[in-house]
C-alpha cells in the first residue's frame, strides 16, 4: 500500500481544526454530564420516591436505546416541540444526557458502597441526609469513583464522532470532508485514529493525575 504523503500534509492542519471542535464538545459535554450525573445519582439515593423512579426510568431508557438514535431524536424532535438548537448544541445535549445516565449509576453505586455504619454514625450525631451525603459519604466515595467516571468520559469523547451524522464539523466530519474531495480513505482514517488516540491518552493521564491528587482514605 502506498501512502499519499501530500494529502497527509494537507490533512494535518484541517484535522487539527476538527480536533478543536471535538475537544470543545467533549469538554462542555463532560462538565454538563458530570453535573447532571451527580444530580441524578444523588437523587437516586434520596428520600423522594417519585424522583428515584424517574431517575431509574431515565437511566433505563438511555441504556436501552442506541446513542445514534438519541442524537437524531434530540436533533429532529426538539424543533417540533419548539426548541431550536444548532447542530453543535444539539450534539452536546445528546451526549450529555447520554453520559449523565451512566455517570448517575456510577455515583449511585459509589456512594452506596460506603459502609452502612458511616451513615448510621452520621445520623447518630444528628446529621440530615444532605449533610451525610456532603460531609461523610461523598468525600469517601469520590476517589474510587474517578476511574469509572474517566471511562465514561473517554467513551463520551469517542462518541463525539457520531455527531458527524448531524453535520457537526468535528474531527470525524472534518476527515470525511477531505475523503469526499480527494478520495483517500485509508490515510485519513488512519490519521483520525491517531488523533483520537492522542486525545484519549491525554484524557486518561489527566484522570490519573486527578486521582493521585485526591486524599487516600
Amino acid at each position: 500500500m502506498k501512502i499519499d504523503w501530500d494529502i497527509v500534509q494537507t490533512a494535518i492542519p484541517l484535522l487539527a481544526k476538527g480536533t478543536l471542535v471535538t475537544l470543545q464538545i467533549a469538554l462542555i459535554s463532560g462538565v454538563l454530564s458530570i453535573l447532571l450525573g451527580f444530580a441524578l445519582g444523588l437523587s437516586a439515593l434520596g428520600n423522594v420516591r417519585l424522583l428515584r423512579l424517574l431517575v431509574a426510568g431515565y437511566v433505563d431508557f438511555i441504556r436501552g436505546t442506541p446513542l445514534l438514535i438519541q442524537i437524531f431524536l434530540i436533533f429532529f424532535a426538539l424543533p417540533v416541540v419548539g426548541v431550536r438548537l444548532n447542530e453543535i448544541w444539539a450534539g452536546i445535549v445528546a451526549l450529555s444526557l447520554n453520559t449523565a445516565a451512566y455517570m448517575a449509576e456510577t455515583v449511585r453505586g459509589g456512594v452506596g458502597s460506603v459502609e452502612r455504619g458511616q451513615t448510621e454514625a452520621a445520623r447518630s450525631i444528628g446529621m440530615t441526609q444532605p449533610q451525610i451525603l456532603t460531609y461523610i459519604l461523598l468525600p469517601q466515595a469520590l476517589r474510587p469513583m474517578v476511574p469509572p467516571l474517566t471511562n465514561e468520559l473517554i467513551t463520551m469523547t469517542k462518541n463525539t464522532s457520531l455527531l458527524s451524522v448531524i453535520s457537526v464539523y468535528e474531527l470525524t466530519r472534518a476527515g470525511q470532508a477531505i475523503i469526499s474531495v480527494h478520495f483517500v480513505p485509508f490515510e485519513i482514517y488512519l490519521l483520525l485514529a491517531l488523533y483520537y488516540y492522542a486525545l484519549i491518552k491525554s484524557l486518561s493521564w489527566l484522570s490519573r493525575w486527578v486521582e493521585t491528587r485526591m486524599p487516600v482514605l
Partner: protein, 266 residues
C-alpha cells in the same frame, strides 16, 4: 432543666419485627437522670435492636420512645395527636442521644479531632474554631490529647472507640447509648475503654450500656437488665441480679457465662 421526676428515657410497649420474626416484644423501660443501666443477655435477645430503636436507627414496628418527656420519631399535630416525623425532624431529635457503636464507625477521611468537631460545627452550629476547641477538650477527657491529628487507621481499636465516645458526648446529649462498646476490641484494649465509660458514669451522665462484660456491669451499673427472646426477663440492682437471680433463664445465662466467657472480664 428537665423535671427530675420525668424519666430521661421511657420506652413504652416497644415492638420490632422483621417480617414474621419478632425481635422485640412489648418492651417497657424507664431510665432516670444520671442512672447507668447495663443490658445483658444472649446474642439475638434483642439488646442491640432495642438500642437502635431508641434513637430510630431502626424504626420500631410499634410502641413509643420518650426522651425527657419528648416523643422520638413523632411530631404533635395541631389537635395534639402524634404522627410519625420525617427524617429532618428525626435528625434534630437524635441530637439528644449519643450513640457508641460496636465497630466504632469513625469517619475515615477525618482526623480524630474533626471526627468530634464535625457534628459540633455542622449540626450544632458552632464556628469551625469553636467546634475544634471543644472537640480537643472532649478528646482530652478520653486521654487522647496526643492524637488529635491522627486518622482513625493510625489509632488502635481502643483509641478509636474513645474517639467515638468523645464524638458521642461532645454535644452533651441527654442520654448516651453504648452498643457492646468493647466487643470488637482486643482483650488488652478493653480496659482503657471501660475506664472512660466508668468516668462518664461517675460524672452523672445517663448511660445505657449493652455489654458482655459482666464484671464491669456489676461494678458500674446502678441497674442491670437481663433480656432474652425480645423481652426484659428480669432487672434489678447488680448485686441482686448477679448474686441471686430469680428467673431460671437469668440463672442459666449467668452460669453459662461464668463457665465460658467469664475469664474475659478485666
Amino acid at each position: 432543666m428537665a423535671d427530675p421526676r420525668v424519666p430521661t428515657l421511657r420506652v413504652e410497649r416497644l415492638q420490632k419485627s422483621y417480617g414474621s420474626k419478632i425481635v422485640l416484644r412489648d418492651v417497657d423501660l424507664e431510665v432516670m437522670r444520671s442512672e447507668t443501666v447495663a443490658i445483658i443477655g444472649p446474642s439475638g435477645s434483642g439488646k442491640t435492636t432495642l438500642l437502635r430503636c431508641i434513637n430510630y436507627l431502626e424504626s420500631p414496628t410499634s410502641g413509643m420512645v420518650w426522651i425527657d418527656g419528648q416523643p422520638m420519631g413523632r411530631v404533635p399535630r395541631g389537635d395534639g395527636t402524634l404522627v410519625p416525623s420525617g427524617e429532618r425532624v428525626l435528625a434534630r431529635q437524635r441530637r439528644a442521644i449519643g450513640f457508641v457503636f460496636q465497630r466504632f464507625n469513625l469517619f475515615p477521611h477525618l482526623s480524630a479531632l474533626d471526627n468530634v468537631a464535625i457534628g459540633l460545627h455542622k449540626v450544632h452550629g458552632l464556628s469551625k474554631t469553636a467546634a475544634r476547641e471543644r472537640a480537643a477538650d472532649e478528646l482530652r477527657k478520653v486521654f487522647l490529647n496526643e492524637h488529635l491529628d491522627k486518622r482513625p487507621y493510625q489509632l488502635s481499636g481502643g483509641q478509636q472507640q474513645r474517639v467515638a465516645i468523645a464524638r458521642a458526648i461532645a454535644s452533651d446529649p441527654t442520654i448516651i447509648l453504648f452498643d457492646e462498646p468493647t466487643s470488637a476490641l482486643d482483650p488488652e484494649l478493653v480496659r482503657e475503654v471501660l475506664d472512660v465509660i466508668r468516668i462518664l458514669a461517675a460524672s452523672g451522665r445517663t448511660l445505657v450500656i449493652v455489654t458482655h462484660e459482666m464484671r464491669f456491669a456489676r461494678e458500674v451499673a446502678h441497674r442491670v437488665i437481663f433480656m432474652d427472646e425480645g423481652s426484659i426477663v428480669e432487672q434489678g440492682p447488680p448485686g441482686e441480679l448477679f448474686g441471686a437471680p430469680r428467673e431460671p433463664r437469668t440463672q442459666r445465662f449467668l452460669e453459662h457465662f461464668v463457665q465460658s466467657a467469664g475469664a474475659r472480664s478485666p
